[in-house]
């Protein structure tokens, strides 16, 4: 199978869906000739024209609101939000309008749109271009949230998102745009709400999202060399969440660490840990551990930034503590 970058995978997904359905269009800042700062969309405007690859003024609430109205009336917009940090700017249109329209209208109006944006620190971009804010979105009923962890995942999840009749927010890991992975030539979709077990294990479960999937896989390698068998699971979408697969693994291994790049407090890790505690409590040999980004704004200095996000070594160290029973008596 050929290897392509995550950027190319997203580009292919968009091109395929735009060929398939003429109501799909892309809208955002510098999406056309510029192809975005990350060059993910390069070439699309040549094929689809500026009517369907629409450069906007720098006005995130405006083009987000416009996309909501366009989606309500028969199109499938893909909103390009240049940095995940800008999600604060579109909150009213995303959370008060897009998320609630189907419900408030008693099921009469649909908002089939995709917001594609990104997450991830360690790019030396400081506090306003480095955040991982998917928990904010996942908190709001009516929005689906996908977190691709490779080029393969990014393509399959994007195609599913575009065909979904609900608002979907996809957060790509901006540090992975140039990472290559095997991606089939033939068409495929990845259904939402179906977690991917990347590595089977029997001693401990590492649940990782997005950028943290590879961190968990590397941690599993480290642990394997010490004789600890770690299972690695990527939920792929956090709304909907494949609880069944996560609980099955928790019951099997009896120890779980949840790793996510959002801030640790009030975040994805806490939510997943809670669900496992509530539904698999008697199968657990240790508390479910949360590992998120430090609860600090992302600092600029590399010396500081690097210590704010979970690392394979950190995850492996926490796993050892769980295996040794240390955490049980921590309180």
């Amino acid at each position: 199978m050929r290897n392509i970058t995550l950027s190319q995978a997203v580009n292919e997904a968009l091109a395929e869906e735009m060929r398939r359905d003429e109501t799909v269009f892309i809208i955002g800042e510098d999406v056309a000739e510029a192809g975005t700062p990350f060059k993910v969309l390069s070439g699309l405007v040549e094929e689809f024209g500026t009517d369907r690859v629409v450069d906007t003024p720098i006005a995130e609430p405006g083009f987000m609101g416009l996309a909501v109205g366009a989606a309500m009336t028969g199109t499938r917009p893909v909103v390009d939000l240049m940095f995940g940090d800008f999600i604060y700017l579109i909150m009213d249109q995303l959370c008060n309008q897009a998320a609630k329209t189907h419900y408030m209208s008693g099921g009469k109006l649909n908002v089939p749109l995709v917001v594609r944006t990104n997450l991830g620190a360690t790019r030396r971009s400081a506090a306003q271009h480095s955040q991982s804010l998917h928990a904010l979105v996942a908190h709001i009923p009516g929005l689906k949230v996908a977190l691709p962890s490779s080029a393969y995942e990014a393509k399959g999840l994007m195609k599913t998102a575009i065909r979904d009749d609900n608002p979907v927010v996809i957060f790509e890991d901006k540090l992975m745009y140039n990472d290559k992975a095997p991606v089939p030539e033939e068409e495929y979709l990845i259904p939402f709400g179906q977690a991917n077990v990347l590595r089977e294990g029997s001693d401990i479960t590492l649940i990782g999202t997005s950028s943290m999937v590879q961190v968990c896989q590397q941690a599993a390698e480290l642990l394997a060399s010490e004789g600890v068998s770690a299972e690695v699971i990527d939920p792929r979408t956090i709304v909907p969440l494949d609880e069944e697969t996560l609980l099955k693994s928790a019951k099997k291994t009896s120890r779980v660490i949840v790793v996510d790049e959002g801030h640790q407090s009030f975040g994805i890790t806490g939510e997943i840990a809670s669900r496992i505690n509530e539904k698999a409590f008697y199968h657990l040999d240790a508390p479910v551990l949360r590992m998120g980004a430090m609860d600090v704004p992302v600092p600029f200095s590399p010396a500081l930034e690097d210590i704010t996000v979970p690392t394979p070594e950190g995850v492996a160290a926490s796993a050892r503590k769980l295996m040794s029973g240390e955490m049980i008596h921590a309180a």
Binding site: T23, F25, D51, R52, T56, P57, A59, P61, G62, F63, M64, G65, L66, A67, V68, G69, A70, A71, M72, T73, G74, T75, P77, D92, Q93, N96, Q97, T101, H102, Y103, M104, S105, G106, G107, K108, L109, N110, P141, G142, K144, D164, D165, N166, P240
Partner: protein, 333 residues
């Protein structure tokens, strides 16, 4: 009244009058339901502004779209909604337009092109502009009218979407209902400069019109809609009008921001229904008796709809987690 072309417009004029009376009657009933504690929540009366909604919506086809506001009952009626489903919605009943999930501030009636009322001031400006974007992208000839109040001109979203609408020549008409008050504050205190000039800054043709004169509103809208269909949009209208009630139904003691004699002057001298009724009788289009009969029929219709809605059933509690997502019957199951 503006000089009207009295040709074969009799039916149109009578329908406009009827629609204005329907709105006033709807609001009188809604007000009573609220004051008698039969209606939950909060609501905002459109009374006094009827010529705006009717003058505009009578210039639209059913395929044309509108977005509405928290003060939205008038837009909803004017775009073709029925009393029964509206009162059911106001009372949170299953047969409401939104199965009781939206209520007064969120009525949507997509069968008539009403994309919904919005409880965020200025919140639907993006939606209206996006609806016009769809028309352009898919080559449809429908036009979208975005209703909003003077208060919403303070929201940044308006400037962002007007900029895009002007750049891309979208078939949208921004209709600013200037009723002189931004919630509990005089508009003069919150809006610097001229309101139409805000649109003109983007190169959008803007008009200011007497919003109590249904024919003036209707003629202007007909002209702008026809031009918007030909790709000459967007347009901006400022409609000078007045709300008879407070900001919301419970806003009773409002002399700290609005004088009673001012309210009296608008009701006595600038009422859109009284003015148009006088015009119809003067021009021989209808007699006073005709109009009284029409009003009595509408009142009976409203009373029957209220009675129906009061007796109608609430949605089953199993509906609480329905319609969160289109493809999941029960989101919490």
């Amino acid at each position: 009244m503006s000089p009207a072309k009295k040709t074969s417009n009799t039916e149109d004029y009578l329908r406009m009058y009827r629609q204005m009376v329907r709105i006033r009657t709807f609001e009188d009933n809604a007000n009573q339901l609220y004051l008698s504690a039969k209606m939950p929540g909060l609501t905002h009366m459109y009374s006094g502004e009827e010529a705006v909604a009717v003058g505009i919506c009578e210039a639209l086809e059913v395929t044309d779209k509108i977005t509405s506001t928290h003060r939205g009952h008038g837009h909803c009626v004017a775009k073709g909604a029925a009393f029964k489903e509206m009162f059911c919605e106001l009372l949170g009943k299953e047969e409401g337009y939104c199965r009781g999930k939206g209520g007064s501030m969120h009525i949507a009636d997509q069968s008539n092109g009403n994309l919904g009322a919005n409880a965020i001031v200025g919140g639907s400006m993006g939606i209206a502009t996006g609806s016009a974007f769809t028309a352009k992208l898919l080559g449809r000839d429908d036009v979208t009218v975005c209703f909003f109040g003077d208060g919403a001109t303070a929201q940044g979203l308006m400037y962002e979407v007007m900029n895009m609408a002007a750049l891309w020549k979208l078939p949208v008409i921004y209709a600013c209902e200037n009723n002189g008050y931004s919630e509990y504050t005089a508009t003069d205190e919150i809006a610097a400069g001229s309101i139409p000039a805000r649109a003109e800054a983007f190169g959008i043709e803007a008009h200011s019109v007497n919003g109590q004169d249904v024919l003036a509103v209707n003629q202007l809208t007909q002209d702008l809609v026809a031009r918007a269909r030909k790709g000459e949009g967007p347009f901006f209208m400022e409609l000078m009008t007045y709300r008879y009630h407070g900001h919301h139904v419970g806003d009773i003691n409002r002399e700290y921001y609005r004088r009673k004699d001012e309210e009296r002057d608008w009701k006595d001298n600038k009422d859109p229904i009284t003015l148009f009724g006088a015009y119809l009788t003067k021009e021989g289009i209808a007699t006073k008796e005709n109009l009284a009969e029409m009003q009595a029929a509408i009142e009976a219709d409203a009373a029957a709809a209220v009675e129906y809605a009061l007796a109608a059933k609430y949605p089953d509690t199993s509906e609480v987690d329905m319609h969160v997502f289109t493809d999941v019957k029960h989101a919490l199951a």
